[in-house]
């Protein structure tokens, strides 16, 4: 809700334009600044960022916790891979298809899972995703089983790392901006109402299940595109992409970045990939290090990086305008009703 508030109050257009321009410049310059392996790390970050942002449409904006979102990510990736390996279809077309396929699948799975609510919903999504995982895992003849499909060939223009980077950058940023528009639309507002109070949402005339289903489909579709991009990045797919351990990633990343901030999950994604890559360089006990970092985050900054950022901003603001921030920081406090089921 802080984003929601902020959209009306702070972030003047000018500062936003400056910020966007700086970001765009950096994005353009990255291939010149980074080694190939580092640039590909950025590609990985972009893919996960898109996945996390689309996931967070459910988590942060609708209040639906899915523990099985890897299913749609994986299906997106497999759509690209299978169309290429079985039918020789270009991954570019595959990427479009991955959106369509995940949209269709998530319509049915969403319809089924949304019969339950809250934790039951979460675990039902887990169950459905594990069934899908098993199908991919066991169907050796079609999917290549647990080891998956390898050596996907990209169109020639994507064969250089910088080009691949730009391609993924454009696709993921465009997708994120679309999601952002949805979040700020009346539909997005309806989702916020559902998140805050499903019962009350129904009593202002929102067909809760229907909106949840649409949010589920949108979120899954963009997750599918993210998965498709993964196939571009890694040029291989494997069953683990659909497994529940993978489903943990967008959840973690959203929490790290802050689920109530739109780009929080994207930042969380970048940090997560970076930490993973960075920590393994120095220790074979990187899970321990990562776990300790996550735990600190949970204990000290439960609002994720977004909270950190808003604290810093509040401190800066305090010098000039004392009044403005009070609403926002007050809002950051969990209200008493939050804990109640």
């Amino acid at each position: 809700m802080r984003t929601a508030l902020r959209s009306q109050t702070t972030a003047t257009p000018r500062s936003r334009i400056v910020l966007s321009a700086v970001a765009a410049l950096i994005a353009l310059a990255l291939p010149l600044l980074l080694q190939e392996s580092e640039l590909l790390l950025v590609v990985e970050m972009l893919v996960l960022a898109l996945w996390a942002v689309s996931y967070n449409l459910l988590l942060g904006y609708t209040g639906l916790v899915s523990f099985g979102h890897a299913a749609y990510y994986g299906v997106g990736a497999y759509t690209v891979a299978l169309l290429w390996s079985k039918y020789g279809i270009s991954p570019l077309i595959g990427l479009v298809a991955s959106a369509a396929v995940t949209a269709i699948i998530s319509f049915f799975t969403g319809l089924f899972c949304l019969r339950s609510v809250r934790l039951y919903f979460a675990l039902l999504t887990l169950a459905v995703s594990q069934v899908m995982f098993t199908i991919v895992f066991e169907w050796y003849d079609f999917t290549g089983g647990d080891n998956g499909i390898h050596g996907i060939e990209l169109p020639g223009f994507l064969s250089s790392a910088p080009n691949l980077y730009f391609f993924v950058l454009v696709v993921s940023v465009v997708c994120m901006l679309i999601i952002k528009a949805i979040v700020n639309s009346p539909f997005g507002g309806a989702l916020l109402c559902i998140r805050e109070n499903r019962q009350r949402a129904a009593f202002i005339g929102i067909d809760v299940k229907r909106y949840e289903l649409i949010a589920f489909i949108i979120s899954s579709t963009f997750s599918g595109i993210a998965g498709g991009l993964y196939a571009f990045y890694d040029r291989q797919v494997f069953a683990g992409l659909l497994n529940w351990t993978k489903s943990a990633e967008p959840v973690l990343v959203s929490l790290i970045g802050g689920m109530y901030s739109f780009f929080g999950p994207a930042v969380g994604a970048a940090l997560f990939i970076f930490l993973n890559a960075f920590l393994t360089r120095y220790t074979t006990y990187s899970a321990l290090a990562l776990g300790a970092l996550l735990l600190m985050l949970a204990l000290v900054f439960p609002g994720g990086l977004a909270e950190l950022a808003s604290l810093a901003r509040a401190r800066l603001l305090r010098r000039g305008q004392h009044e403005l921030e009070t609403d926002e920081t007050a809002a950051a406090q969990p209200t008493a009703s939050e804990r109640k089921p």
């Binding site: 080694q35 190939e36 392996s37 580092e38 590909l40 790390l41 990985e44 390996s85 895992f137 066991e138 050796y140 003849d141 999917t143 290549g144 089983g145 647990d146 080891n147 998956g148 499909i149 390898h150 050596g151 060939e153 990209l154 169109p155 020639g156 994507l158 064969s159 250089s160 790392a161 080009n163 691949l164 890694d234 040029r235 291989q236 494997f238 683990g240 993973n276 890559a277 393994t280 360089r281 074979t284 006990y285 990187s286 899970a287």
Partner: protein, 396 residues
Amino acid sequence: QSSAPSSQSAGASKQGGETVKLGMATDLSGSAALLGVAGVNGVTLAVEDLNAAGGVLGKKIELIVRNTEGRPEAGTREVRDLIQREKVAALMGPVSSAVGLAESAVAKENKVPIFLHTSNTERLTVDLGHPYVFSVVPNTGIEGRAQAIDMAKLPYKTYYIIGPDYEFGHLQANAFKEKMKELRPDVQFVGEQWPKLGETNYQSFITAILAAKPEAVYSNLWGGDLVGFTKQAKGYGFFEKTFFTALYDVEVLSTLGSDTPNGVRGFSRAPFYAIDNPKIGPWVQKYRNRFGIYPSDWPIMAYDAVNLWAAGVKKANTFEADAVVKALEGYKFDSLRGPLNIRAADHQGDVASYMGEVGSTDKYPFPIYKSVRAVAGDKAWMPEGDIAKLRANPRQ
């Protein structure tokens, strides 16, 4: 032709300074961690030995180990980092074949040789094989066929199969089945079970197998899974009711100890006591001095992998990848397990598979194979003709 984002510098050739780097991204967490750790032991020992002998081409070797946690995407990322940032001259393979395939793809793209010693799906060297991949482990094809060759002599006519549910289990069992049917058309396979990797509960699988009343059960369960299966099966009188064979290696047998069913047939890849090669005895001693335990199969093969690369470098007289690859094609390699031929067609060493009936001994604190047999690699590996076929039309 490759559409890979190819790097300008093929790392390996640009080695400068006094050291040369060797990379290893393997599975050090999760249920396969033991194999990963053992492999790192073998590689470490090999590097220490080479450095003690003055290094390779006068350069000291620096080993960089990374943990993939069994995740293919981590394999991709780590190996890419090892190649592009650390500029390693060569890579040692991981445990899981899924990770192996991921690493192999990056190695191929960047033209850096990768030496497999534990992950062994036949797809690595055959279907998806490429010039930069080498294997000194019996791959799933070799291992499965070798067991069929040995077991064809047994009288049993009905077989049941139980294996871990992933690529290795299925491919290895398939190789066994096909070879068995070829050698013994009268043998029938009456059922299969595929518990997941890392399963702890085998009760239902055991009773399901017993209900089918097979004469023999062929299994490629391994490690902790096999330990669990064996212990649970004992209570059902399983080993009295049916003939059983599985991957009982040194590790499993020392863990099982007195719970080992007497006379059960085991097979493995490099049981040190069964290897008929003068080099192995002193090496085992050295290994024990260094790590305080007896070596299992994995460090032996990992040690061989490093030395195969070193031999290639020496023969080529350069660290340059293409030259090393060229030097190793058809190379006769003096391994811990005896002389090995590296076949040019798939860069697979003709490594033997070992088998025998398990029994206790006073020589070692764990049961070993009695009446050891070995099936040579060149008897069991895939005929050269089939390799080209599978490369053109890979199994998926």
